[in-house]
Symmetry: C2
Subunit: 380 residues, 2 copies
């Protein structure tokens, strides 16, 4: 059997749980009577509790950011390339925290949780959450762990939006903010892709208006289509070309035969869609994409992101990737411009990468180096 390669890794880790019986009032006014927060930690909290780093996950991520759950796991957590001993987010130095956001489907209170008021899963009745709700529940965990301020809050994509929101909502509790492949708000094109994904889910007859769990089913086809759209658009055309080109999986183009041709890229995509739909919750997918669409850092600040960032006290690292067309370098530059106008301390790097939006998850030398350099300069 293939064993987990735990060298250079945080090794075997186990999720932890924080249960809070205190009701949580969300941005939209709805109240969760209780919340369960599932999280992982890597490294050791120092004496002064000054070395804690919060990792915020994106759309399809969860609390399992690094290491392995079982010795026979073949895949580590989703950001194992960047979290571990000697890695940019160095667990020899930092105490790293990653939490499954509420509304998620990996243990924290979300649509698959039992609604204590009905005894049934929340399903579509789970309230829409905003990025600020994630930040406020991450803050609950922060208090429970007795962390007075984060050495850094770090996130890619939707995670980067949470990191920025931290700076605005808790300016004195975050010393560094690392925003990777993100934006102050989505473009119309991004909202459009999210809406197509949601339409694929909601038009699947197994969706049952979101009450699929009560029907003992799941809108797997719709969720697979949603994931396929995400997968293609989070990669670059160049990366897909290099990986698949026009290689065939079956059939031939011989004239005079009726054998249907299948390209490698087609079966790969279908596999990605099917495997995702087996592990992810459709209501969570809808909720997370809505939170993405709704996020607008400058909305409460007269549409001026520099005003939103005016009262923040963090140092900032902003990173973008050349081939990322869903969160293009131009979106990161808007963040940088707003920070400069607000007279804040900001480092920016546009990293040459072929992998599109997914580049933020991948080992890329320049990205590794500059990320490590920034993290090493943080005082703890």
């Amino acid at each position: 059997m293939q064993q987990a390669d735990t060298s250079g890794s945080v090794g075997i880790v186990s999720p932890k749980t924080l249960y809070s019986a205190k009701p949580v009032t969300l941005a939209n006014g709805r109240v969760l009577p209780e919340v369960t927060l599932v999280y992982e930690t890597y490294g050791t909290l120092n004496e002064h509790h000054s070395n804690a780093v919060l990792i915020c996950h994106a759309l399809s991520g969860n609390h399992h950011a690094a290491g392995y759950h079982h010795p026979d796991d073949t895949k580590p957590g989703w950001w194992d390339n960047y979290i571990g001993p000697g890695k940019p987010i160095d667990t020899n130095r930092f105490f790293v925290v990653c939490m499954n956001n509420i509304g998620g489907c990996d243990g924290s209170t979300g649509p698959t949780s039992i609604n204590p008021e009905t005894g049934k899963p929340y399903g579509p009745d789970f309230p829409m959450v905003r990025v600020r709700d994630w930040v406020s529940t991450q803050h609950l965990l922060m208090e429970a762990l007795e962390i007075p301020s984060w050495a850094a809050v770090i996130g890619g994509s939707l995670g980067g939006m949470q990191a920025m929101r931290w700076c605005v909502d808790f300016p004195d509790k975050i010393r560094n903010c690392v925003v990777i492949a993100s934006a102050t708000k989505l473009t119309a094109q991004n909202i459009a892709f999210n809406e197509i994904a949601r339409s694929a889910i909601t038009s699947d007859p197994d969706f049952h208006d979101g009450r699929y769990l009560e029907h003992g089913t799941s809108p797997r086809n719709g969720l697979a289509i949603a994931r396929m759209i995400g997968h293609v658009t989070y990669l670059s055309g160049t990366a897909m070309g290099m990986k698949f080109g026009r290689d065939l999986r079956s059939g031939t183009f011989e004239v005079g035969t009726d054998k249907q041709v299948e390209f490698q890229v087609e079966s790969y995509l279908r596999y990605q869609g099917e495997s995702f739909s087996g592990r992810f919750d459709a209501n969570t997918y809808i909720l997370m994409t809505k939170a993405l669409d709704y996020f607008d850092l400058a909305r409460d600040f007269n549409d001026d992101a520099s005003k939103a960032l005016a009262a923040t006290n963090s140092h900032f690292l902003i990173v973008s990737f050349t081939s990322d067309w869903r969160f293009s370098p131009d979106r990161s530059k808007e963040i940088v411009d707003a920070l400069v106008r607000a007279n804040k301390s900001v480092s920016y790097a546009e990293v040459e990468a072929d992998n599109g939006h997914d580049a933020f998850l991948i080992s890329i030398e320049r990205y590794q180096t500059l990320f490590a350099a920034y993290m090493n300069r943080i005082t703890i």
Copy 2:
């Protein structure tokens, strides 16, 4: 009632029909026992039959390229911006022919036609057709109309692939070839988008393995998703941003309210999807996207497009649009490079346009001017 504005237009037109009882053998070896070809013509065939121009339609197009069918039509044919008196494809000078391709769903033999062997609609049993089959059936129409050679064959996108195939298959019957926003073959990313669209259709329970007509239904949801994907990817991010931004259709972002927000771009997209799914056939959509995926001009020529084009005798005009990311200027430059290496006469223009792939359908001054100039130089 709003009336058709027929000024500068070919006016009211009616489709014509060519029925051929002669069996047609397709590239894959399958035989259509008979074919019906629906087409329109605009302008007048001159004495020497030397002024005929063939327009090849793309994925969702048909034979109705210009003018109006009824005085109360509010929309003209799909390329009315470019075909008509005084327009680039000037009907005062040219006799313009546009045919619904076989496999289509607007009258020519296709999946919705009755299979004479079974008395039922072909549905999914309709053979997969290749671009070369469209060219060979367009050639049937050419013979019926007694046209010895086309002054020009013109097409955008999938239509451009047909125009190139004309040059290869009938080098002495085409004097000018106009290829707009096209490619010698699709990229992996393009194939991937087509596969997602097909998956949306085939996973719709109303698809019934393609026999939805026999079940008195249609996979409308799947077809709507397919169209939404096409719509977003055929536009540019810039164009969507200018058209919709983050404008809301309903709801508010007020903190403390539970009213769901809908962006304008979402309802617009859904409307586009629904209206398309009411008029288009799902099996045709699958067949047309497969033809797109399969097309590879150089496949029979050792993957060398310049060898494919070596025996052609046309002059070429190649046009691309800066913001078209599904058929990017780089794809057009590959055509131009192949033509230059084959020592052919080629004009190339990369037109500045914000509208993405859809630019080829839209009135854009520089595109109008250069297209008209090229067409005016054609000897008839």
